[in-house]
């Protein structure tokens, strides 16, 4: 694969474990011990994925995310011991793509890295049609079909689905979804979101009680599953 991964963590042992583990999986790995170095690195040789710890000795990880987002859309995966929903929401709202709480398994991290890489590849191609299993979303025609049958969606439901599907694999916080679909004035109206997600699940999920496409990230937001067998 040879995708470039930059690991930013102040703990030497975790840097070592990640470097060895990712290299063995074919990634090209760079490491940085603090935020300043990470920003320099990212500017000089932009990596394909940035793996970032929040508790850095010099700058807070969230600040690193904000600074990078000023000029780059490169996927950022947060790795942190901070497991509270509030911390996740802050980092994701700042522009991080994903959030993994320490300690984590290597398989999980690799899966998240792959999703992030695939997503950027998809965005780069700017595909007008998205397919997830038997669900097909034609962005140009605003047409959604499931197993060949058209799914009738209200404009708001469609906007919500488009937002989730084009960011498949990425956690979208309640605030992001509300701002993008309903507008900035509705950023706190989480109950709208819950109602519409529920309606959407009834229309596109095979079993709405056990969603396989629109996954809930408790207290944080929703994630559209990217790796549904297609």
């Amino acid at each position: 694969m040879g995708a470039r991964v930059l690991i930013v963590d102040d703990e030497p042992q975790i840097r070592r474990a990640l470097r060895v583990g990712l290299q063995a999986n074919g990634f090209d790995v760079e490491v940085a011990a603090n935020g300043e170095t990470a920003l320099d690195y990212a500017a000089g040789h932009p990596p394909d994925v940035l793996i970032l710890d929040l508790g850095l000795p010099d700058v807070d990880g969230v600040e690193v995310v904000r600074q990078i987002r000023e000029w780059s859309a490169l996927p950022i995966i947060i790795l942190s011991v901070r497991g509270a929903e509030r911390d996740k929401v802050v980092a994701l709202d700042a522009g991080a793509d994903d959030y993994l709480t320490k300690p984590f398994g290597m398989d999980e991290l690799l899966a998240r890295i792959r999703v992030a890489l695939r997503r950027t590849a998809g965005q780069a191609r700017g595909e007008p049609v998205l397919e997830f299993g038997d669900l097909r979303i034609d962005l140009a025609a605003r047409l959604v079909t499931r197993a060949g049958h058209e799914v009738h969606l209200t404009p708001t439901e469609y906007d919500l689905l488009r937002e989730l599907a084009t960011n498949a694999g990425k956690v979208l916080t309640h605030g992001m979804l509300l701002t993008r679909v309903w507008g900035p004035a509705s950023a706190d109206a989480t109950n709208y979101l819950r109602v519409y997600v529920n309606q959407l699940r009834h229309k596109i999920e095979p079993n709405p009680a056990h969603p396989r496409l629109i996954l809930t990230e408790p207290g944080v937001g929703y994630r559209f599953r990217a790796d549904v067998a297609g």
Binding site: E11, I14, A17, G21, V81, R82, P103, G105, M106
Partner: protein, 536 residues
Amino acid sequence: MRDVTALNWRTLRPYGGSLLLVAAVTPALLPFRLHLNILNVALIYLIVITVVSLRTTTGPGIAASVLAFVCFDFFFVPPYYTFSVARPDHVLALFVFLGIAVVVTQLVIRLRARTEEALRRGRRTAVLYDLSTALIGEAGLDQMLQAIVDRVREVFALETCAVLLQEGGVFRQRATAGQPIDVVSPNLAGVAAWALDKRQPAGLSRTRVRIRPPGRPGAPAAWNFTQGRRDRDLFLLPVATTQRPLGVLVVARRPGEPPLDDEQVQLLATFANQAALAIERSLLTEEQNRAEILARSDELKSALLSAVSHDLRTPLASIKASATSLLQDGIAWTDEDRRELLTAIDEESDRLNRLVANLLDLSRIEGGALRPELGWYDIGEAIDAAVERTRAVLDGYVLEVRVADDLPAMRFDFVKVVQVLVNLLENAARYSPPGSHVSLSARRRDGELEVVVRDEGIGVPAGEEQRIFDKFYRVEARNRPPGSGIGLAVCRGFVEAHEGRIWAERGDRGSLTVRFTLPLPAVAETPAPAPREAAR
């Protein structure tokens, strides 16, 4: 019955005095009867009645006026020694005299009452002012209540004054001036509860409540108290705010003192109100303090939890990442990679173990369950062991170790002293940049062993040198590395358990020097050769 006699005697006494004075003047005037005009005699009697009125009340005053009238008629209005009057104008003079005497008596008595009222008011204001000044000066509830009871006892010349507070349904004596009151007495408690419940004053006979030393002996009367009976020996006033009942103010008069009058009861009630306010204020302050302490301990607890969870999860993250890497299928690990991952697991497990040990030690120190297991050891050995255990942590630092060669064997808990050294070295490495110098030295100083650990790290803000040994203390710095603030607290606990001291000193450019001492054994105790004290 005795009460009734006493009451009558007290009532009758002023009559006797007044009448006696009028009666005494009469024989004194008799020799001058022929030289005095009847008008002059009347004026002299009026003076006497005015004097009597100045010292007595209406009843005796009028009695004296009537007696003067009678004496005047009998002795001075001709014909003498009869009540008959010869001249009609003398009849008029006599009744005018009586009228004037009564009016003068009334006027004088009323004037005097007003003056006394004004004086009393002035005194009362002064007393209350005095009390409020005293209360402002007092900090605690007990001091405030003591100030109140002291004043009440002084102002009313009481035998005893006490404040009983109701705490959990039981009355407790919180402040007493004079003889303590036997609060255990069920009668007193019952009356106090009644007074507090009804918010009304109550009286109680002394025979039912023991005042130590026991007061007047007397057959126990039936338990009867009456609302507001002031002639009882004990008088109870409720102490309560509008919201809550608090307790009672109990006063005991000296034996034989007159009952409290309206004026005094009112003043007492004012004192009771002051007490209620003081108690309420202090209760509110206490509640507020308790809430603050709770909030602070909650803050501390959550700080501890987040620090500990961070510290525990960080090594776990490395261990899990390494282990799950090794468990992945289909990867051909090179020997070097496998070794690196396994080393990470090994070292991070040690780190986790050190952290758990520190946490356990801290809880033992906090719980007071720390007992050093003393044995004879060489401090050099302990230093070697500590350096060995921190080899991985200090990788990349320049470590200098100097141990004086004149150090005798000493008694200490080997494991704990090694732990202290490990924590200090780990701390030095954690707070200073890689490549910097860390020095560790041990030498004899002022009859003690002094161990010094110095680093070139981020240091400590001025004035906080001692606080770094408080648990959960963390230096506030931009570059501060993660940690829970446990290690140095453990160091202090261990060193103090050895009867040593530990302290920190700021050096130049962010360096920090931590020193601790351990007692050296007395020469006679030492199993090793006598130390070369002269060398220093």
